[in-house]
């Protein structure tokens, strides 16, 4: 599970770029499943899903759009009504909302490849195995 240490983030957005490259074969940060929120000039805040074992977002979703697919929490974009209850429910502020569709997106860890973890030059992300949240 990727966990972000905001203090280390320099705001380069490489995580977003590599995420869009991996999932969409195009360079477009707006498609990323991770988001860097600027608070210039002070600390940026990184939004990324931790893939909780006991996910509050699943409980909060009124239309049951969040399910585990191949072991990863995934939001069915057709079912989702963009009510954003999952965003409110997440205790880690970890739900990215797409600027294009207005719907939430969850990190799928690149199916275990964790590209943001390996590409981030500031080493913001750590892989936490078997975390109990």
């Amino acid at each position: 599970m990727p966990v972000a240490d905001h203090k280390k983030c320099t705001g380069c957005h490489i995580c977003e770029i590599i995420c869009s490259v991996h999932h969409h074969k195009t360079m477009n940060p707006k498609l990323a499943m991770v988001k860097v929120n600027s608070n210039w000039p002070w600390e940026d805040k990184v939004t990324i899903c931790r893939q909780c074992r006991k996910p509050k977002c699943v409980e909060a979703c009124p239309v049951d759009a969040i399910e585990r697919v191949d072991g990863y929490l995934t939001i069915d974009q057709d079912k989702c009504t963009a009510c954003l209850e999952c965003v409110k429910a997440c205790p880690f502020d970890g739900v990215v909302v797409s600027e294009i569709t207005g719907k939430p997106i969850l990190c799928d860890t690149c199916q275990g490849e964790y590209l943001c973890v390996s590409w981030c030059p500031a080493k913001v992300f750590t892989k936490v195995q078997g975390a109990n949240f």
Partner: protein
């Protein structure tokens, strides 16, 4: 997904006419791409063809070209840049200015390789570009507001995910070295903010959701990975620069006597113990800031924790401003430098020119050319209160600040009394933070830079003072012409691929060329030589542009102080710059005649003879 025709490019050029609030969107011409690549190159071609000679830079006839390049907004490291080309109101000649941060990628994601801005709006205007939707909105409420407040209001109105370019009160009142700010970064030099002000354009807002596609996916990904690795192991981009920012060179420059002090009167900065990169890192730097896609994070957020500037902050201060508001003014109070830089960003003034002008004014005061009555307060070197007051006066055009805001060339012209000899400018642009008497190559670099005294057209310090390139004797004239010419051509490529020049400290020309090739797949760009030819073409075209405005050998010179007045202490004691011999050789290598005019043969070779 974008459906652009050429890989790496957004594929469209947006031309707006502020006078009629009209716009057209056209495909980016393939000829333009092949011959001029992007950024500075696009600007050079569009302005050379589109501007009449001798047009008033502050009239509605002037044009601004905001352009990105193929590498902008990609995974390529340090791809967050964007260029602005126009005719400079400070120099009256060619100007390209470059801004880091996030604006370039956003414009490109909106679908545009370039935005061409023509005409003059009837009232204060904000140009909003959101993908295909272009609108001209009322900027009346923002007019007169400081830049950071303006940007906050723009973010509230147009969304947190937008990027901006915005002028402040200095640009609105057309101060000749007004800048344009984007986030915490800026189009610094040459007065592009005044051009924007003259067009009644307060801000441009950009937001884009389109993506950029890659020609050779695996090849480009491999080159990006290689580039990140190379940058991380370079002693510069992987060592000093991430830690200290651009100030990583500060102590080296002081040691070499290449850091000018008190308006270039000396190269010895006695207060260096309290004002250097270690003090900055220990006491002021609070966090590292990176631009889009950049692992170097040379920018810092700084805050003053005690003393009379407690609570003041800035994104910086970077090396140039540490000098301009520091040693140039005999000032070692870092708090005042941080506050001064913040004020320059708030009002929209180029902090290099601002500090240079203040140093000049202080020398005029100490020499009795300007009196306390004329200035309003004593303005000796080292007076940090005076520095802060001067910045506000220049921005608002108050008292002596009105004259100061026209730059040292104009100021010395009006003051006379020998002040021309120490007005530190080339072609009207104020010198930055390197003394050519401690590194001759920089003398030639300043004299032949296409936009006037600038350190970003060639930067010879890597060879003359630092050990990042093959070492050269800083006081020798040999080989400097070749070094300057090669750098000017290659830097023009970087500024047209539109990435950060700092890549030059970690990557080879070959690697950068490979990145461009794998991304775009353009067959005409086979070798590094093909790419360098584009750089040479651009540099010759900006020369032709400025020649049309009357520039010749007489202007490719340095302030008299550097040619005739040696420093009498420190490592550069007794040295003056031997410019003429370097200049002769430079013209020869460039195939320019003795007056600095490109030969017919050279122009034909570059396809610029038509």
């Amino acid at each position: 997904m974008s459906n652009n025709k050429y890989f790496g490019y957004a594929g469209k050029i947006l031309t707006v006419d502020l006078g009629s609030s009209d716009y057209v969107v056209e495909n980016t011409p393939f000829d333009l791409i092949i011959n001029f690549m992007g950024g500075k190159g696009f600007g050079a071609k569009i302005l050379y063809d589109g501007l009449k000679a001798n047009c008033d830079p502050l009239s509605e006839d002037n044009i601004m070209v905001v352009a990105t390049g193929p590498l902008t907004g990609t995974l390529m490291p340090a791809s967050g840049h964007v260029t602005l080309s126009t005719k400079s109101p400070l120099t009256g000649v060619w100007l390209d200015s470059h801004c880091a941060g996030f604006l370039g990628p956003e414009l490109k994601m909106a679908g545009y390789d370039a935005v061409i801005i023509k005409g003059k709006a009837k009232k204060p205007t904000v140009l909003v570009i959101k993908d295909d939707k272009i609108s001209f909105e009322d900027g009346k409420d923002l007019w007169g507001k400081l830049i950071f407040e303006s940007q906050e209001l723009l973010a509230q109105k147009y969304g947190e995910n937008c990027q901006f370019m915005c002028i402040g009160p200095a640009g609105e009142r057309k101060a000749r070295f007004a800048n344009i700010v984007s986030g915490g970064r800026g189009f610094g030099r040459g007065g592009s903010g005044a051009v924007m002000g003259s067009k009644n354009l307060k801000a441009i807002v950009a937001e884009g959701t389109k993506g950029l596609n890659i020609y050779d996916f695996d090849g480009f990904m491999r080159m990006c990975k290689e580039s990140y690795n190379e940058l991380s192991v370079s002693p510069d981009t992987g060592g000093g620069r991430p830690k200290y920012g651009t100030n990583s060179i500060y102590s080296f420059m002081i040691e070499a006597g290449a850091h000018p002090v008190k308006n270039f009167q000396t190269g010895v900065f006695k207060e260096v113990r309290e004002c250097n990169e270690d003090v900055l890192d220990r006491k002021y730097y609070k966090r590292h800031i990176a631009c889009f896609s950049c692992p170097i994070n040379c920018s810092k957020a700084s805050r003053v924790d005690d003393g009379k500037y407690r609570g003041k902050f800035t994104e910086g201060p970077e090396y140039e401003n540490m000098w301009s508001l520091g040693a140039q003014c005999g000032n070692s109070n870092i708090g005042s430098i941080i506050y001064g830089e913040h004020l320059c960003d708030e009002y929209g003034l180029d902090a290099i020119s601002a500090g240079n002008v203040i140093g000049f004014t202080m020398e005029c005061f100490e020499k009795g050319i300007l009196s306390e009555k004329q200035i309003g307060f004593p303005a000796n070197f080292g007076n940090d209160d005076a520095i802060i007051k001067f910045i506000e006066m220049m921005a608002k055009g108050e008292g002596i600040g009105e004259l100061m805001s026209q730059g040292v060339r104009q100021m010395s012209k009006e003051l006379g009394k020998g002040s021309e000899k120490f007005a530190m400018h080339v072609k009207g642009m104020e010198l930055p933070a390197y003394d050519p008497r401690g590194a001759f190559g920089m003398g030639l670099a300043y004299a032949t830079s296409d936009r006037g005294a600038c350190h970003l057209r060639a930067w010879t310090l890597g060879a003359e003072v630092l050990d990042v390139q093959e070492r050269m004797d800083p006081f020798a004239t040999e080989f400097k012409a070749e070094l300057v010419k090669t750098q000017q051509d290659f830097f023009a490529v970087i500024q047209s691929a539109v990435v950060c020049l700092f890549l030059n400290f970690g990557l080879t020309q070959r690697q950068i060329t490979r990145c461009i090739q794998t991304l775009t797949g353009i067959k005409e760009w086979k070798t590094t030589e093909d790419i360098l030819k584009i750089g040479e073409r651009i540099y010759n075209l900006t020369r032709l542009f400025s020649m049309r405005e009357g520039i010749s050998r007489k202007d490719d010179t340095l302030p008299e102080r550097l040619l005739k007045e040696p420093v009498n202490e420190g490592p550069t004691k007794g040295v003056v710059v031997d410019l003429d011999s370097m200049l002769d050789e430079y013209y020869l290598i460039r195939h320019w005649d003795k007056e600095g005019k490109p030969t017919k043969e050279k122009l034909a070779e570059l396809g610029l003879d038509k």
